[in-house]
Structures are given as C-alpha cells and as structure tokens.
C-alpha cells in the first residue's frame, strides 16, 4: 500500500516536473533566510559564522538548483520572539522566502515555526536545545536537526552512572528549562541504579556560584551535574575550577555546553567535564576536512550548530533538486526519504515528528597536558547510537505522531 502510494506520488511528481519544470520552483529562485542571534549570548555558537556555514553549503551545491538561483538573506533575531516573528512574517509575505535556517533561542524557534506552519514554508532548526520543539510544539513545517535536551540529559547521565558515578548532586537553573532538564536527569540516574543525593536550585541568571559549589562539595556526591545553560553554566564551571571541584575527585557533568564555551573557559578550568555533543570537529576525517575549510574562512573551529547548518542546508538543497519543487511538504517528504551521510552524520534520518536522529557522542574535556592546541578540547569517550539517544516516538506528544 505504502509502495503504491509512493509510486503514485512519484509518478505525479514526475509529470508535474516534466510539464512545468520552470514553475515548480517559486519565483524561479530558492530563497533561504538565516535567522539567528548575531549580537547576543548565542552569537558564538551560531551567529555570523553560521551564515558562513550556510553560504558554504550554497556554494558547494553550485549556487543553483535545477537552473534556479539560490539567494540567502539573513537577520539578527536579538533573541526576541517579537523580532523573530516580524522578520519571518516579512520574509514569507513580502520576500517569498522558502526556507528559514539557524533558529537558536527556543522562544524564537517556536515563534518562527508557528508562522512557517501558517504559511506552509520550511524551517530547519539547528541551534535550539528544547526537546519540546519536536514534541508538544512540533509542526509539519520544521525539522530539528542537530541535538536536543533529551540526549543531552539521557546520554550524559546514563554514561556517567555506568562508569561508576552513582551518587548525584544536581544544580538546576530555577525556570522551566532547568526543571525539565533536572527531571530528565533524575529519571535516567535512578533508572540506571544511581541515587540523587541533593538537588539545589539557583535563580536565573546567577553570577556568583560559590555557595552552590561549596554545597556541592560538602554533599559528598560523586557527580555534580549542571542543569542550566549559557552564562550560568560557564559561571558555575569557572567557580568549580577555582574551588578545585574536579581535582578533589568529584566529576562535573555539564548538560548543555558548546565548543565555543569550553574554548572561552580554557582547558584549565574546564578539564575533566563530561558532556554530550552532536558532533565534534576532530571526530573523523570528513569532519576534520570540512572544519579546516570552515576555519580558513572564519578563523575558528565550528561548533556542532555550524556543522548542522551546513549539513542540513546541503540536504535541503539536494531534496529540492530531487523533488523538483521548493514546496515545503514535498521537500520535507524528500528529506525524510533520503538518509543523511556526510561530514555531520552517518546514517542519520528524519522522523515524522521532524526530529533528525543521528549518533550522539559522550565527550570529556581534555586536560592541559593532553590538549595540543587551543581547539584540541574534547576526547570522544563513547558513541551513543541515535535510536537510544533521542526520545522514542512511543513517548511523543507530537500531533503528527499516531499514538
């Protein structure tokens, strides 16, 4: 039945392509809008360098698809859903933008995807962490590509418990995101036979973490987990480094930490931290080759978000080529039908809820002795297979999944 359906749609698609080859791509131009934080907290992990990654993808595809030019526009979302919403609206209604890439802060992503759903355009989310984006906030018009909080909590917690870290101290940012992360971690820790000794919540945002780190040290827990993000995480890590938390035998586990954060902290302060990442520039030959090209253009090593923007844009443009149209649903279907094998992921695939499932990696920050240069920051401890890492569809609340 499914095969028949596919054949039929392929037949219809091919007739459409044959008859209206020119009209299939709207305005005979593929327009991509890059929306990200260009000036605020998330500038380093996505920002202007994400736009470079996107342009690299466009160049590698040849600057055009089926004779239609590719045009890229970009805007700063200022981490504000208002700005995101008005920009995306204008792109869609006035400028005929077909796909929106980037998308970092989760409030920005949710605002943008609502508009994309109303107007049937496509969004590819590379920067956001919230797993709700493909759960209660899922739409048929976006794909969540790089990572989300589910494998971050799941991957790190499971791996650390299995390696003997069975007693936990969780330091949580006191708002919805932190609470969700804390809940996920606690579930995984107890399911794997560990115990949570103490949970402490800190206000969001916090500058001085001394009292919290002292509490963590006196709790006697083997693992100190940071269920927070951004400057809270880096501040906590800096303080932990000053108090010699890891040197005194406790393991520090960060749940959301980017390469650029670790680079800014330096290996001295960050050494020994365990974290889960979707990609690392030095993990294999393909990744290295691409990140060398990226570094030539930008002067820095790419984060997983940069790599994801490149990979997803190439995947998108190839799908437009195969489908012969830039209509969102046809392209999304084509993207789902094609597995992803490139410098970012091997055997990655997109589920019906929009989640791109691929292997995740448990990494540990190197010690100053191990690190050869300023970007030689992680060693990959183990690979977490994609199907284990992400939230199974059976637990999904997404409206696109029949449960």
């Amino acid at each position: 039945m499914k095969i028949m359906k596919k054949l039929l749609s392929a037949a219809i698609a091919s007739t459409i392509i044959a008859t209206t080859a020119q009209a299939a791509i709207s305005d005979n131009e593929i327009r991509i809008g890059y929306l990200a934080d260009m000036s605020g907290t998330y500038r380093d992990l996505a920002g202007p360098n994400g736009l470079v990654a996107l342009q690299m993808a466009v160049e590698d595809v040849g600057g055009q698809v089926n004779g239609a030019n590719i045009r890229v526009v970009s805007a700063d979302d200022r981490n504000s859903p208002d700005v995101a919403s008005s920009t995306v609206r204008q792109w869609v209604e006035n400028d005929g933008v077909d796909m929106v890439a980037g998308l970092v802060a989760s409030s920005v992503t949710i605002a943008a995807t609502r508009i994309l759903e109303q107007s049937n355009r496509l969004g590819i989310v590379s920067g956001s962490a919230a797993s709700s984006i493909t759960n209660e906030h899922c739409t048929p018009n976006h794909i969540h590509y790089v990572y989300d909080t589910y494998p971050l909590a799941n991957g790190t917690a499971q791996a650390v418990v299995q390696e003997g870290g069975d007693s936990w101290f969780i330091l949580t940012a006191d708002y919805a995101f932190g609470h969700a992360l804390e809940g996920d971690v606690e579930k995984v820790v107890t399911a794997n036979g560990g115990t949570v000794v103490q949970k402490v919540r800190h206000p969001f945002p916090t500058g001085d973490f001394s009292s919290f780190i002292l509490q963590a040290q006196s709790s006697g827990a083997k693992v100190v987990a940071l269920a927070n993000a951004g400057s809270d995480t880096t501040n906590a890590i800096t303080t932990a480094g000053e108090f010699g938390l890891t040197q005194s035998g406790q393991t520090l586990a960060a749940l959301l930490l980017f390469l650029t954060d670790v680079h800014a902290l330096g290996v001295q302060a960050a050494q020994g931290i365990q974290l889960t990442t979707g990609w690392y520039w030095d993990m294999d030959d393909d990744a290295r080759a691409w990140s060398d090209r990226f570094m030539q253009r930008t002067g820095v090593r790419p984060t997983m978000v940069h790599a994801g923007i490149y990979s997803s844009t190439v995947h998108y443009l190839n799908a437009v080529k195969e489908a012969g149209t830039d209509e969102a649903q046809a392209v999304r279907q084509q993207m789902m039908n094609t597995p992803i094998n490139d410098m970012f992921a091997k055997g990655g695939y997109i589920r019906e809820d929009g989640r791109m499932v691929h292997d995740m990696y448990l990494a540990q920050v190197k010690t100053p002795a191990e690190s050869k240069d300023e970007w030689d920051l992680y060693k990959i401890v183990r690979t977490i297979p994609g199907d284990e890492a992400y939230r199974p569809l059976s637990e999904s609340q997404c409206k696109l999944v029949n449960n």
């Binding site: 970009s74 859903p81 008005s86 409030s107 605002a111 609502r114 708002y175």
Partner: protein, 331 residues
C-alpha cells in the same frame, strides 16, 4: 475671552500667535494621521503596527517622565502584564473577542500600576526609579516561574480573533487600522490630560514640588493618578502588541524593555507629545534595519552610541531640537 478688558495690541498679537500655533499643530497632527492612513500600502503593515505599539508604550512612559518628572524603571512590568493577560485569556477561552481581552489586559496592568504607584510615589528621584525597578523584577520572576506564561518559551499561537465578533483581524490591514485607532485613542487621552488643568498641576509638581504642596495640592494623589494612567496605557500597548504578534514573551517583562522605552523617549524628546512617537519609530526602525544588514552584530553598540550622543549633545531629543531650531529661525 477677556479681550474686551485687556485689549491692548500686544495682548491681541500674543493671542493671535497662540491661535496660529494651535492651528499649525492641528495641521501637523492631521498630516501625521493621513500619512498613517496611507502607510500600510507602502510599508509592511506588521512593522508599522510594531512601531505604533511601542509608540503608545513610549507615550505612556513620557506622561510620567516628561510631565511629572518621575523616571519609572519598571514600565516593562505593565507592558508584560497587559500582554500575558490578553494572551492567556485569548488562548484559553476560544469564544472571547479581542476587545474584551484587551480590556482585561489593560485592567490588570491598571491594578498593578495602582499597587506599584502606592509604594513608589512616596520617594523621589533615584529612589523612585529603584523601587519601580525592584517591583518590576519581582513581576519578572513571577512570570518566569508561572506555568500559565509558558516560562522562557512564552505564549505562542494566540488567535487574533474577530473584533466585536465581526471584523477578522487575521487580515493585516484590518489589524493595522485597529491598532492605529487604539494608538490615536491613547495619544488623545494623553493630549487631553496634558492640556487640562490637571496637566498644569502635574507640570507645577514637576517644576517645584514643595511649591505645589504649599498651594494646597495633594501632590501624592496627583502623582498616583498619573502613574496609574501611565500604567494603564502601557498595559494597553502590551495587550495590542500581543494580538499583533500572536505571542507574549518574557522579553516584554525584562528590564531591558524598561531601558528601551527610556531610550525611545530620550531620542525623540522628553516632555513633548510627539517626541516619544518619533523616538519609538526611530529606535524600532533602526533595530529592524540593522538586524537585516551586514552591521547586524553591531546593533547594541550603535544604539549605545546614539544614547550617549543624545544625552551629551542633543538633550532635547529629535522633536525638542527641532522645536528649538524652529523657534530660533522662524519666529
């Protein structure tokens, strides 16, 4: 008029001049209104609505800073309260029409303004600013923690609904004219207030508070009323903004927003009626243009430099400087 008694030629010419300047002002407002009517056919309507919402917010803020001399650093709380109340009601009760939701949002921020005002107007200057900031931070943390606001993610997908159950606001043009009507209403309220005897007492308080007290005015009562009206209008702006963007977010409650409205008012011109409107249009357009240009990552730096230049060199703001220039050269 009293022309019969004091009909000296000098007095007459002063009166004539006043009338002429009133007429010119009316013509200016008229011109602005006509431009506003045509604008959505030239400029993207959602962008214009954003300017109008912030202009109303700045006008409300300027009522306090420009006419009573009170620098509130907590106006974001009123904007957000209006927005969240309206957004929550519209997304929870599907039968509710937008005007009722806006009314509820405005009432909520009016009540909050009464609470803030009762506490804050007891102090002056920097202490007043600090109290409003502290109270606004309390409100911010309340919205971060509450489940009905969606925390960090905010409220999304709020339906625009049908105005009075008839006019479909999903249409951008219909929405625009509604927002314009609300803005004109808010502006008219402030205009009327400022030019009424009540407004003159406010100005007297601004100039010299002890003197106003000695003349027998209950200064605290006057300030409180002004504060509550300002909060109500800020809430109205927030409510309308929520319907325009179909979302309510934590950004509106953040103290950055309180700072941004100070910037808008200063750039446009404190204590002038049109100043905050021009300032809001200027800041919003600048942010919008810069965000989409190659200078994107310099937005904050550029806004900061403009702020410093304004404070150091053009203290009267765009409209204020223009008025000075006009008076010097054409009168």
């Amino acid at each position: 008029m009293t022309t019969s008694v004091y009909a000296s030629p000098a007095r007459k010419s002063v009166l004539e001049q006043k009338q002429r300047s009133e007429r010119r002002k009316l013509m200016l407002y008229g011109a602005f209104f006509v431009i506003a009517l045509i604008a959505p056919y030239v400029v993207y309507p959602v962008f214009l609505m954003k300017i109008l919402c912030f202009a109303l917010f700045a006008v409300a803020f300027n009522l306090l800073l420009g006419y009573v001399g009170l620098l509130s650093f907590g106006h974001a709380a009123f904007l957000a309260t209006g927005g969240y109340t309206t957004g929550y009601l519209l997304s929870t009760y599907s039968g509710l029409t937008p005007e009722l939701a806006i009314l509820a949002g405005t009432s909520a921020s009016t009540l909050l303004g009464l609470g803030f005002g009762l506490l804050a107007i007891r102090r002056q200057g920097i202490y007043f600013a600090m109290i409003t900031l502290a109270l606004a931070q309390l409100v911010f943390f309340f919205y971060v923690q509450s489940s009905f606001t969606g925390g960090e993610d905010g409220l999304h997908g709020i339906p625009r609904g049908k105005l009075l159950g008839v006019i479909n606001l999903a249409d951008n043009l219909a929405m625009y004219y509604f927002v314009l009507a609300v803005f004109v209403f808010g502006f008219a309220v402030v205009h009327r207030m400022v030019h009424s005897p009540y407004g003159h007492v406010l100005k007297a308080i601004k100039e010299n508070e002890p003197r106003a007290t000695s003349l027998g005015y209950n200064v605290d009562r006057y300030k409180l009323v002004a504060f509550v009206i300002s909060a109500a209008l800020a809430g109205l702006a927030g409510s309308v903004k929520t319907i325009v963007f179909q979302l309510a977010s934590l950004n509106d409650a953040h103290w950055h927003m309180s700072g941004e409205v100070v910037l808008m008012t200063l750039v446009g011109g404190v204590g002038t009626l049109l100043g905050p409107v021009v300032g809001a249009a200027f800041v919003v357009s600048l942010e919008h243009q810069l965000a989409q240009s190659a200078l994107g990552d310099w937005v904050n730096v550029i806004l900061g430099v403009i702020f410093i230049l304004c404070v150091l060199m053009f203290r009267a703001g765009i409209i204020g400087e223009f008025q000075k220039f006009y008076k010097k050269n054409f009168k």
